[in-house]
């Protein structure tokens, strides 16, 4: 389908193993084609602002950010704060992924404007709900039956 071509997910996670599992999960749900994986918050901000190694990228988006909280250099809280306080970027849905339901993580990410909060490993049901609430029905549509 047409919209699928534009799907672009920015996956921000410093753990290659977690990233591999997440990408694998996205792939199982036919969503891996346009996933870009960056390793920390600094790279994530470089990506959305098209600077540094991403200065020349042509594609629009990303249309969804999957963001780890605990990362070296710039952490997930900082990335959320920057994106959500930028009028040009704040429409991009941010889904925080983290290891636990620590209250302070949850409350902090929500207070900064994160759209949702998912405990790893990624629950695709929850992810699809977030995406469809943001108007992105492609994620729900493309949910593979196997899970």
């Amino acid at each position: 389908m047409d919209e699928y071509e534009h799907v672009e997910i920015l996956l921000v996670d410093d753990s290659p193993l977690d990233a591999e599992l997440a990408i694998r999960g996205l792939k199982d749900h036919n969503l891996a084609n346009n996933v870009v994986w960056v390793k920390d918050g600094e790279q994530a901000l470089d990506y959305v602002y098209r600077r540094g190694q991403f200065a020349g990228r042509s594609s629009a988006g990303p249309r969804l950010i999957l963001l780890d909280l605990k990362m070296p250099k710039v952490d997930g809280i900082e990335v959320t704060r920057t994106i959500k306080s930028d009028p040009k970027l704040r429409h991009i849905p941010i889904v925080i992924m983290t290891s636990s339901k620590e209250e302070r993580d949850i409350s902090e990410s929500y207070s900064l404007g994160a759209n949702s909060y998912i405990v790893k490993p990624l629950d695709f049901e929850a992810l699809a709900n977030v995406a469809s609430q943001a108007g992105y029905y492609w994620l729900a549509v493309n949910r593979a039956p196997n899970g």
Partner: protein, 426 residues
């Protein structure tokens, strides 16, 4: 933090000491002055009356023998009483018989009254006293004495001022000592609080780190074991599949253990917010939730009388849910599992209980029942991490209550917990 100027507690302490001292002095001083002033006139009157009696007694013969010189000599003895400014002896007919003046100037007296008595003229007290001998009135003694109320009041105020100053000086000295003691105490409290806060913070960052860092490798173990299963299942023989499923199962179990341990550790730091709780509602809701969590519905719940409690809702929900899930779990092998809840209203505390007809436990191991990760049954028979009862114990203890259990193996178990009627601490 030591020796801060304007320390609120220290300042308050000094203030309180000074105010209390001053107040006590003012009240006692005022009471004393009021009493004294009331007493002053009566004392004077009594004193002068006695004086007049003595003079009258002594002057009676002089009156009888009409010898005013003798009477005058007696009156002259009043020199010893500087407060008495003048005196006179009147004969029975009312004429002045003899007189005395402290200053040497003539002293006047008001006209003689018909009876004994006294009156106050400006700053002086005038007293008349009959001289009586053998029931015959021989004459009258009149005394005039200083009655200086203002001077007296000023004397009192002066004395009071001195006492006040001395006491306040003493209070300042004492409170100085108190302040330094208090400062030491405050410093110690501050140091302890800082230590506790640091320990608490450390514990918090420890549990935060546990929940994040310990879970990351676990997630990889579980995730990649899953991938191995999904991607290579066909190439794995039965034994390899069995081993992978063990890895996955144990990784899951470790995740649960971490969760339970974190819940347990957070419990020590969470503050208790006591509210009035309908324990019947709490218990039945907890039981129904167990049913929706996949526990088969064959267990019968019998709800007896359950007095309301004053406790933290969230924490008590955990207590009921742990005790009930335990009861259901350990009676699950019975043909007709029955779980019974009830309570007894006590004088200062209410006691609640959860009774089952399940496996029970050996009372010899009762002491181990409420320890973390303590299990009295085989994991394969009755699965669990062994945190539930430790959690119950911690919650109830933090509410100021007690937990205990009694049982015989195979005979079911009863878990009791008590909650004080007023939970004021947390």
């Amino acid at each position: 933090m030591s020796g801060r100027p304007g320390n609120p507690v220290r300042g308050k302490l000094l203030f309180v000491v000074l105010v209390a001292t001053s107040l006590a002095l003012v009240i006692s001083g005022a009471a004393m002055v009021i009493y004294e002033l009331r007493d002053f006139r009566q004392t004077w009157v009594d004193d002068l009356t006695a004086q007049a009696d003595v003079i009258g007694l002594a002057a009676a013969p002089a009156l009888q023998f009409e010898d005013p010189d003798v009477a005058r000599d007696y009156l002259a003895l009043l020199e010893a009483k500087p407060n008495i400014t003048g005196a006179a002896i009147y004969a029975a007919n009312g004429s002045q018989f003899a007189s005395y003046s402290a200053s040497g100037q003539e002293v006047t007296f008001p006209s003689l009254p018909d009876v004994d008595g006294h009156q106050i003229l400006e700053n002086e007290l005038v007293l008349f006293k009959r001289i009586v001998a053998d029931d015959e009135i021989l004459g009258t003694v009149a005394l005039r004495a200083n009655y200086d109320l203002t001077g007296r009041l000023l004397d009192y105020l002066g004395m009071f001022g001195v006492i006040m100053l001395l006491s306040l000086a003493g209070a300042v000295l004492v409170s100085g000592r108190l302040r330094s003691l208090n400062a030491q105490l405050e410093d110690r409290v501050a140091a302890r609080t800082a230590q506790l806060e640091a320990a608490n913070k450390e514990l918090e960052s420890f549990s935060y780190s546990v929940s994040h860092d310990l879970r990351a490798p676990l997630r990889a173990i579980n995730g990649f074991a899953n991938l191995l299963w999904e991607d290579h299942k066909d190439r794995l023989d039965e034994e390899a599949q069995r081993k992978i499923s063990i890895i996955r199962g144990q990784a899951d179990r470790m995740g649960t253990l971490i969760d339970d341990l974190l819940t347990f550790s957070r419990l020590g730091r969470k503050s208790i917010e006591p509210v009035e709780l309908d324990m019947k509602e709490l218990a039945t809701n907890a039981f129904e939730r167990l049913g929706s969590d996949g526990v088969d519905g064959k267990t019968e719940l019998r709800v007896g009388k359950l007095p309301t409690a004053n406790a933290d809702r969230n924490l008590l929900e955990q207590v009921w849910s742990n005790l009930l899930s335990n009861a259901v779990k350990f009676s699950s092998r019975k043909e007709h599992p029955v779980v019974e809840v009830g309570g007894i209203v006590g004088e200062s505390e209410n006691v609640y209980y959860v009774r089952d007809n399940g496996a029970g436990f050996d009372p010899r191991y009762q002491g181990k029942l409420f320890g973390v990760f303590q299990r009295l049954h085989d994991e394969s028979e009755y699965p669990g991490t062994g945190v539930g009862l430790a959690l119950v114990h911690r919650i109830i203890t933090r509410h100021g209550g007690r937990v205990w259990a009694d049982s015989q193996p195979g005979d079911g178990a009863t878990f009791h917990f008590s909650l004080p009627k007023d939970v004021g601490h947390g």
